[in-house]
Amino acid sequence: MTERQTADRVLADALRAIADQDAHASASPDVEARVMAAFNAVAMARRRRARATVAGLAAAAAIVTAVAVFKFEVRSPKSEQTSHQTSDFKLQTSTLRSAVATAFMPLVYSGVPIVDGHVVRMEVPRASLVSFGLVPVDSVDGAQGTSSGTVLADVIVGDDGLARAVRFVRARPRAEERKDR
C-alpha cells in the first residue's frame, strides 16, 4: 500500500469515527419546546382564519339573500314598500344623515361595472361585522343594532341586482341628532 493510500485510509477512519461520535447529537429540548409552541400558534391561527372565512361567507350569503328578497318585494305590484326603494343615491341621504356609518367596503361583485344602482338599508347578521374585521357595535358601547342579533347595513345594489359594497350603520341617539340641528 502506498503512503498516499495509507493516508487516505487513516483519514477515512477518522471521518467515520467523527460520524459515529456525532450520531446521537441532537438539538436541545428547549428547541423542541419552542418549535412545538410555534406549531400550536400556527395551528391556532389557521383555525381562526378558517372560522373567519366561514363567517365571512355566511355574511356575504346573508347579504346577497337579503338583497334578493328586498328586490323581489319592491318589484312586486302588491308591495307597499316601494317607498323604501331608492332610485338613486340622493334619496337615501336624508336617512344616512342621522346615522354613523363605516366606509363602504367592497363585496364579491365590486369589480362588476355598474351603471346605476341603489343604496338599500337592511338588517344583516351581527357576525358579518366580524367578517369585515369590525368589532360589533354593542360590544363597544352598548349601542345600536337590533334586538334580534342583527345590525343595520347600507348595501349598494347595482341595477343588475348584484351587491357591490356594504357599510354598517348605527343610528345616532335622538339627543345627539337634535344637537346637530
Binding site: 493516508a7 477518522a14 467523527i18 460520524a19 446521537h24 447529537a25 438539538a27 418549535v35
Partner: protein, 186 residues
C-alpha cells in the same frame, strides 16, 4: 406512514405528526448545522428550519426529492445566513480554490487524530466543509448531496476530493510528519 403522508397530516394541523417529523429529522439537521456553523448556532438553525417548514408545508414537492433533502435545503439557507453574519467565511456557493497534495505524517494516537480532523473540518472553506459533512459525516450519496448543494454531482465529487486533500495538508501542517504513519490505538 411515509414522509409525504406525515407532512400531509402536518398540513392539516396534526401535532403528533409534526412531533414525529421533528423526531425523525432534527438530529440530521442539527449535525449538519453543528459542523457547518458550530454547536451554539446549530440549535437556532434547527428551530428556524422547522418553523420555516410550518410556514410553507405546501411548498414541498415530492417529485424533487425526500423531505430530508427539503429540510436540508431550508437548513442550508439558514446556515448561509449564520455564516454571512460571521462575515469571515466564504459563501457556500463560491468555494476558495486552495489545495495541495501534501501528506506529511506523524505518530499520533487515534483519538488525537480524530480531534485534529474535527478541527481541520471546521477550518475548511464552507463549500468544501459542506461536501465533507454531507458525503462523509452524514453518509449521503452524491446525488442527494448535489440536490442539497444545488450543484452537479461532478462538483460534489471534486469538492470532496479537494476537501480531503486540504484536510491532509492541514493535518500534516500540524504534525510536521506523514499522516500515513499514524499509530492506530485499537
Amino acid at each position: 406512514m411515509d414522509d409525504h403522508g406525515l407532512l400531509e397530516r402536518v398540513r392539516r394541523g396534526d401535532q403528533q405528526a409534526f412531533s414525529r417529523l421533528y423526531a425523525l429529522y432534527q438530529s440530521a439537521i442539527y449535525r449538519y448545522a453543528m459542523h457547518m456553523c458550530g454547536a451554539a448556532a446549530a440549535d437556532d438553525v434547527v428551530q428556524d428550519t422547522f418553523v420555516a417548514l410550518l410556514g410553507r408545508p405546501a411548498r414541498y414537492d415530492p417529485s424533487r426529492g425526500s423531505i430530508l433533502s427539503y429540510l436540508f435545503g431550508i437548513a442550508r439557507h439558514h446556515v448561509s445566513k449564520q455564516l454571512a453574519v460571521r462575515g469571515n467565511e466564504s459563501p457556500l456557493d463560491t468555494p476558495d480554490d486552495v489545495v495541495d497534495d501534501a501528506t506529511p505524517l506523524d505518530l499520533v494516537s487515534r483519538d488525537e487524530l480524530v480531534g485534529q480532523v474535527r478541527d481541520a473540518i471546521q477550518s475548511l472553506p464552507p463549500a468544501y466543509r459542506e461536501a465533507v459533512v454531507l458525503c462523509e459525516l452524514q453518509e449521503m450519496d452524491y446525488a442527494t448531496a448535489a440536490a442539497i448543494m444545488h450543484c452537479p454531482i461532478g462538483t460534489v465529487r471534486s469538492r470532496l476530493h479537494r476537501a480531503k486533500a486540504m484536510l491532509m495538508t492541514k493535518l500534516a501542517a500540524r504534525q510536521g510528519a506523514p499522516l500515513a504513519t499514524t499509530r492506530p490505538t485499537r
